[in-house]
C-alpha cells in the first residue's frame, strides 16, 4: 500500500473506477435542466394547450418536465399561460415569490408576453413587468410543439448559467426586469 502523497490526489483509474471529472457548473446545470418542475400558471386558453403538452400525445415527460406541481413551493419554473389581468398580477407575483430558488419563468403566448390582443384597462401588458421572464413563446395560443420548443430553449439557457458563482454570491437568480420604454 502506498501512502497518499501529493501525486495521488489526482484521479487514478487503477485505484477507483467509474469517476468522471467535470466542472461543478456543468453538473449542477445538467441536473437542473433535466428536472425542471413546472408550475402551471394557467390563466386562459393557453392553459388548454399546456394540458396537451402534459398529456400523452405530446408528452413533455420525454424531456424531464412532466412533474407539474400546483404548489409554488415544489416547483421551479412558472409557465405563465394566459392573460394576466392587473387584478391577477398581484397573485402571480406573490406565487412567484413563494417559489424556491433557482427559478425560471416562461411567458407562454401573446397575452403573457405583451398583453396580446387585450389592449384594455384591465390587462397587464406583458408579464415581464412583474416577473423576470426567461423565455417568451409566440402564438395565440401556441401549439404544444411551440411550448416544447420553448422549454427546450429554457433547458439550453439553464445549461449556460454560472450556477456556482450564483450560489457563492448568495443571489441564485438575480432578478432583472426589462427597462426602457414600454
Amino acid at each position: 500500500m502506498t501512502t497518499a502523497t501529493e501525486q495521488d490526489v489526482g484521479y487514478n483509474s487503477k485505484i477507483e473506477g467509474n469517476v468522471i471529472f467535470s466542472s461543478a457548473d456543468a453538473i449542477i446545470n445538467w441536473v437542473r435542466s433535466n428536472s425542471v418542475w413546472p408550475m402551471p400558471m394557467g390563466l386562459a386558453c393557453c392553459a388548454i394547450e399546456l394540458m396537451g403538452v402534459g398529456a400523452s400525445k405530446f408528452d413533455i415527460a420525454r424531456f424531464g418536465m412532466e412533474v407539474m406541481r400546483f404548489s409554488p413551493r415544489q416547483s421551479d419554473c412558472m409557465i405563465v399561460a394566459g392573460t394576466v389581468t392587473y387584478k391577477m398580477a398581484e397573485a402571480v407575483r406573490r406565487i412567484y415569490d413563494q417559489m424556491a430558488e433557482p427559478k425560471w419563468v416562461v411567458a407562454m403566448g401573446a397575452c403573457a408576453s405583451s398583453g396580446g390582443m387585450y389592449r384594455s384597462y384591465a390587462v397587464l401588458q406583458g408579464v415581464d413587468r412583474i416577473l423576470p421572464v426567461d423565455v417568451y413563446i409566440s402564438g395565440c395560443p401556441p401549439r404544444p410543439e411551440a411550448l416544447i420548443d420553448g422549454m427546450l430553449r429554457l433547458q439550453e439557457k439553464i445549461r449556460t448559467e454560472k450556477s456556482m458563482w450564483q450560489i457563492k454570491a448568495g443571489r441564485p437568480n438575480p432578478e432583472k426586469l426589462p427597462t426602457g420604454p414600454r
Binding site: Y86, K87, A89, R93, S120, Y121, V123, I130, L131, L177
Partner: protein, 204 residues
C-alpha cells in the same frame, strides 16, 4: 298573455326578439316577485345595464332577462335607475333569484349602480380599490394611469397601471345603417401616444 293587463304600470319597450317592458323602479321588486311566483318566469337568465351616456335622462337602465321554464318564453324587463348620475340606485332582486347576487355585483362593478338591499355589494371583477366604473360611456378603453394596488409588489417591480397602448384602436363600426355594410373604423383613443384625452386625466 299580455302583462300590461295585469300590471298597469308597465310600458311596452321596442324589441325584436321577445316581449319587453319598461317598469318604474318603485314597482320592480313586486313585479319580479309576481313574475316568478304567478307567471312562471322562474329563471333569471341575465341581468345587466345600459348606459345612455352623460347627461341623458334616464342615464342608467337595468335590464333583466327572464325565462319561463313551462312555456319556454323569454321576457325582458328594463327599469331606469333612480338617483344622481354619479350614484344611480335600483332595488335588488337577489332575494328573489339568488343568481342575481353576482350579476348585480358585476353591474355595480362596471356601471356603479347601487343595488339597494343587496347583501354584499362589492366589486367582483376589478379589485376593491379600483376608483372607476369601466363600462360607463366616459371611461376610455385604455384606462388610466394609476398606482398598482399592491404597494409592496409595485415597490419591488416598479409596475404601474398604465393606459393600454391602443395603436389607433379600438376599431369599431359606426352607429348608422346595418352592421353588414359597415366597415370597422379606428376610433383613436390613444390618449397617451397620440394625443391627450379631452377634458383631463379622469372622469369627474
Amino acid at each position: 298573455m299580455n302583462l300590461k293587463e295585469t300590471f298597469a304600470f308597465l310600458e311596452e319597450r321596442p324589441a325584436k326578439d321577445c316581449p319587453a317592458y319598461n317598469c318604474p323602479a318603485g314597482h320592480l321588486v313586486n313585479l319580479m316577485q309576481a313574475l316568478r311566483d304567478q307567471h312562471g318566469y322562474s329563471m333569471l337568465v341575465d341581468m345587466t345595464a345600459v348606459d345612455e351616456g352623460p347627461g341623458q335622462t334616464p342615464r342608467f337602465i337595468a335590464v333583466y332577462h327572464l325565462f319561463n321554464l313551462e312555456s319556454f318564453e323569454y321576457l325582458r324587463i328594463a327599469s331606469a335607475c333612480e338617483g344622481d348620475e354619479s350614484a344611480p340606485e335600483i332595488p335588488t332582486v337577489s332575494h328573489i333569484w339568488a343568481g342575481a347576487d353576482w350579476h348585480e355585483r358585476e353591474c355595480y362593478d362596471m356601471f356603479g349602480i347601487r343595488f339597494k338591499g343587496h347583501p354584499d355589494l362589492r366589486r367582483i371583477l376589478m379589485w376593491d380599490e379600483y376608483p372607476y366604473y369601466p363600462l360607463r360611456k366616459e371611461f376610455p378603453l385604455a384606462g388610466f394611469d394609476m398606482d398598482f394596488q399592491a404597494a409592496d409588489v409595485a415597490e419591488r417591480t416598479g409596475v404601474r397601471i398604465q393606459p393600454a397602448p391602443m395603436a389607433g384602436g379600438p376599431f369599431v363600426s359606426g352607429d348608422e345603417g346595418p352592421m353588414s355594410e359597415k366597415e370597422p373604423r379606428a376610433k383613436d383613443q390613444s390618449w397617451r401616444e397620440q394625443h391627450k384625452k379631452p377634458g383631463g386625466s379622469g372622469p369627474a
